[in-house]
Symmetry: C2
Subunit: 341 residues, 2 copies
């Protein structure tokens, strides 16, 4: 039951009466080796079930073909969809993936980053923890190995960043509401200046501006923790106003669902009286009733793209920092919560 040893190059070479180096080269398809020898070697290797010892190889070549991934919280549908994309793309290109959670804890995030580099990953894919303020440590590591950020990113870190086009997505969502004839559009966003929240807010403003709709401070609500409960709470506030809004744009599905729950309780007709739009296309958005209009973020595409850029950097190393920002397109999925005839 204890770990048995694998076939080694040495054993193969003995069996074939060749040197270890020849066997190694034969298996690596080195041009110096004759076709005939290559075939003999490959045949025996297969027969003896030879598998290269990746540790020895990585140890020698300083390349592990392992990518590190750090995310705030793995059990979040959007995140795990991204992970799915990462896993698939990485595997396709012959890389393994090590995953870690930062639990939205900045200290732990740096710790993970450190053990990962210590461990010898070739590069790191990372979605930043909330309130990542002290980027100094991260920059230090960025000096040693390539990092690609996705989803939760920061302009303070000069590296490739893969995000959805938050601003445009929000713009489209709000424009959709305007096209329905809505004029008093409330927004539920985050208090702290997260990248995502800010961009979505910017999209909201641009849409209002484009159509000459005044921006009303009263309709702009913020919360620390953009959860279902807080969505409900803030909606209650909106409902208590003399002049109620006629639409709510929540920057996450959960908050939007909270809004729907609150509207339900007060028997407000959705979407006739107040339409609701969310953001994420989480599974819940189809389960709540009425089904929620929302922005679909193609998670797996984000993951795949991030991997592609990272590997690109790994395989064509340059000395100048890459600071490209790649924006992935989203699409608005219109459902009953904003479907008017």
């Amino acid at each position: 039951m204890s770990k048995k040893r694998n076939t080694t190059l040495k054993e193969l070479s003995k069996e074939l009466s060749l040197s270890i180096s020849t066997v190694s080269r034969a298996l690596n398809d080195h041009p110096d080796i004759s076709q005939e020898t290559k075939e003999r070697v490959r045949k025996l290797a297969k027969q003896m079930n030879y598998v290269p010892n990746l540790f020895a190889r990585g140890f020698r070549s300083r390349e592990t073909h392992i990518l590190g991934v750090i995310v705030p919280n793995i059990s979040h549908l959007f995140t795990s969809t991204i992970l799915k994309g990462i896993l698939e793309e990485a595997e396709l290109r012959g890389y393994r993936v090590i995953i870690s959670e930062s639990n939205n804890n900045e200290i732990k995030q740096v710790e993970m980053l450190n053990t990962m580099t210590q461990f010898g990953v070739d590069g790191v894919l990372m979605s930043l923890s909330r309130k990542t303020i002290n980027v100094e440590e991260i920059l230090k590591i960025l000096n040693r190995i390539p990092i690609v950020l996705f989803d939760k990113v920061s302009s303070k870190i000069p590296c490739t960043q893969v995000v959805i086009n938050e601003e445009e997505a929000a713009f489209n969502a709000v424009e959709h509401l305007i096209e329905l004839g809505k004029q008093r559009i409330a927004i539920i966003k985050e208090t702290e200046n997260s990248y995502n929240s800010e961009k979505r807010y910017a999209g909201y403003l641009r849409a209002l501006n484009k159509y000459g709709i005044p921006v009303r401070d009263k309709l702009i609500l913020s919360t620390e923790d953009i959860s279902l409960g807080n969505g409900r709470r803030l909606t209650n506030i909106l409902l208590s106003m003399k002049k109620r809004p006629d639409a709510i744009f929540a920057i996450t599905d959960n908050a939007a669902i909270g809004a729907i729950k609150a509207l339900h309780k007060f028997k407000v007709k959705i979407p006739e009286e107040i339409a609701v739009v969310g953001f994420s296309n989480s599974i819940n958005s189809t389960i709540v009733s009425p089904a929620l209009t929302t922005v679909d973020q193609p998670g797996d595409k984000i993951g795949r793209t991030a991997v592609r850029f990272l590997i690109q950097e790994l395989e064509n190393p340059t000395n100048d920092v890459m600071t490209k920002t790649v924006e992935i397109k989203t699409s608005l999925i219109v459902r009953d919560s904003s479907l008017m005839v």
Copy 2:
């Protein structure tokens, strides 16, 4: 930007005018080394930011301190909750984790298992892909390194298995319905004989038997793919019967939600006319209305437990196969879909 080299034992030893072996032993707290030396070494190591090269170490000792994890689908809330538990517990005990998806594909599952062992993981945690029939390859690998199965398990594989107590959980759920006074309780389960589905079905039967309620074939419905859509479809069948059931036990939340949607459409009162109980405590179960009564499966506990058993095996290797089955307790969460006053 290219990978810089880390401080090595050699460099430390030169700086301290000690031999490499002494430095190594000092850092590993070997009893042969004097306290004084140990402190000198540790101090310089810290100062020079020494980190052991895990590859060299793993290479030498044949221990990587990496665990492999294979799951059918990472973006499934229950699965990612288990992963969370695995990550936390493994990290706590100084192990790294490599995660892979089998996508419910038996061939790929074996492939992943192979590359993982090839890669040198110390052990594997695995949730089986649907329709895992040919366990031969898995047994072969089980000969080389320890495997612990969780959630989707199989008695054909002699190893430690961590599961929830499916049978009892289902029993409790159905008993709850009976206590409400329900007598015609339908079940929606899977066609193929998955471990989970079978156990839950057994619990259903036991509950009926205990209370002397006849088992009616007509009320036992099966589907290949236990999805929301199929839950809806099968419920429609139930509704078309002359004598409708007065409760539905669906062996997954999604199917239960499908049932609720169907009942809604036909204006059936939940739970007065027909009560509904699901299984999983997915987020959706609180979002659907009425909120769904369901079985809470403590995912992170499953993950943690699985890791504990695996490490236990790793660190106390024996030659006899472990075939323990560990059952994790669940609890029934009663919500509106079965709340009668």
